[in-house]
């Protein structure tokens, strides 16, 4: 695998070398951004890829009350980092991704990408929705080319790049299939390829594997880790599965239940590639789970107290 900047799309997808270095093959970034696999403390001062500066979000419920969904969240994500966000359901973790994607405006605070504030959607940040949002009227190939089409990428290059990403997610044979003809795991991979094909710097993933069976999910974990290693993207991954977060992330962020705040941060210094069943993954997940459980209990107690008052 080449570590030098390269513009062309290699015909073959490197698959054998899982332990390989993180080469930014497709972006033409300098070779200095190449880092060895285990997550590393970066000494020099880098502009964070994504920064949240005192983000709050509140909205009116149907009964007319104002509900504070996100409360004063500040957060920095380094370029090339794999950040996982966990929390009880309803803690606003999906909302946070929508804010970073620029699909919803926040009530106060700033979302910064590469140091400049975000004012709307941009193809430098692609969100993979929990329900995927693949377009049923397009073929798999059409879905993957969609983002490039919107960016007016010429047809020939579009097709070449689509081919490349199809191969990357092992779906070359399904280029002309429609979405409903695919299994859940395959759809998931189409969504991944569609997002990657627009070549975003930041990949936002909203519980993408929640609806899959364990085997498919494990397989996609491996693939995602490999893709991340090969493309050097920054990934922010939201899940309610702590073990999944530890298996994938360089760092795991724990959020509180309504209002959503950052409760605690865990650095995961485990060597890659990892597996769900690994003992150290399980142990780290256990630590985080203990913290999360107290959070869930607190939120439940708060709810019961509310009911007694009301």
């Amino acid at each position: 695998m080449s570590t030098s900047p390269q513009k062309a799309y290699p015909v073959a997808v490197p698959t054998g070398s899982r332990t390989a270095v993180r080469a930014n093959v497709f972006h033409g970034k300098p070779a200095s951004s190449v880092t060895a696999f285990p997550s590393r403390p970066v000494a020099e001062v880098v502009v964070p890829k994504v920064a949240l500066d005192a983000i709050s979000l509140s909205y009116k419920t149907t009964s007319g009350e104002r509900l504070l969904a996100l409360d004063n969240i500040s957060l920095e994500v380094k370029p090339g980092e794999f950040l996982c966000i966990v929390g009880p359901s309803g803690c606003g973790k999906s909302t946070l991704l929508h804010l970073i994607a620029g699909l919803n405006p926040q009530t106060s605070g700033k979302v910064l990408v590469d140091g400049s504030p975000v004012s709307g959607p941009g193809t430098d940040r692609i969100l993979i929705f929990q329900e995927l949002g693949l377009f049923p009227w397009l073929t798999v190939g059409g879905n993957i080319e969609f983002g490039m089409k919107m960016k007016n990428v010429p047809k020939a290059e579009r097709e070449e790049r689509a081919q490349y990403y199809l191969r990357l997610v092992h779906l070359s044979k399904f280029k002309d299939s429609y979405i409903h003809q695919l299994s859940g795991g395959m759809r998931q991979r189409v969504a991944l390829a569609r997002a990657l094909a627009t070549e975003p710097d930041v990949l936002l993933m909203d519980e993408p594997f929640a609806a899959l069976d364990a085997q498919t999910r494990d397989l996609l974990h491996d693939e995602l880790e490999r893709l991340w290693a090969e493309t050097g993207r920054t990934i922010i991954f939201v899940t309610h599965n702590v073990r999944e977060a530890v298996r994938l992330g360089d760092r795991v962020l724990l959020m509180t239940f309504r209002p959503g705040r950052v409760k605690q941060e865990f650095l995961v210094n485990l060597s890659r590639p990892r597996h769900m069943e690994q003992a150290d993954v399980a142990r780290t997940a256990g630590d985080i789970m203990a913290c999360l459980r107290s959070e869930i209990n607190r939120s439940l107690e708060a709810e019961y107290a509310d009911e007694k008052v009301g």
Partner: protein, 252 residues
Amino acid sequence: MKKLAKQIIFYSALLGVWALLAKLRIWPPYLFPPPWGVGHALWDGFADHSFWIGIAVTMKRMLIGYSLSVVLGMILGLAVSSNKFLEDTLGGLLVSLQSLPSICWIPLAVLWFGLTEKAILFVVLMGSLLSVTIAMEDGRKQMPKIYGMAGRNLGATGFRLFWSVLLPASLPFIVNGMKQGWAFAWRSLIQAEMIFLSLGLGQLLMMGRDLSDMSQVLAVMILIVILGYMVDGLIFRTMERRLQEKYGLTPA
């Protein structure tokens, strides 16, 4: 195959009962003609070309009036669904106007346009325009929000977002609206034709009445049912089924 067999048995039984009742002569034949009498009327109608002309005239009006109402209905529906002010004002008016049977537009059409082709087309237009508009508006509202978000997320904006995402995403609803519009247009047209001397199927029906020719009345009614069903069942249902398959929706 099993369904077809059931249908054959059902229609044979229906014809059998009809023939039997006619044979028993409970009612005089000029009020209750036998199936072969109606068959004869159908044969004669086609043989002297009057049914062919009736079908051609009616279908031509259908095509013009219906096309007009689909185009206008889509524009109106889009306008109403994308503007809150129009939705609250014009939207409500359209829904309330839909309670007006399309035959009620005939007096107005006759006074405005006289006993002309324009009057008939106007009635057809008013009969189906509202249902196309409302179906279009509903479609825009029912369309899953995720597609619009995904489109914006992937860099689609403005007209391209509409053309490449919102329009295809609402296509199943649009086809549904077109289907409803067709059904309304068909009813309105036959009604309007019954009022005017107009050469269409509706007039053939009235001619049967004027001549006290029950066989012709029934023959034209059968013709109207078959034509209406053919367009609805063959064209629109096929379109709907194809779309549902492609979009992965389970047929209702």
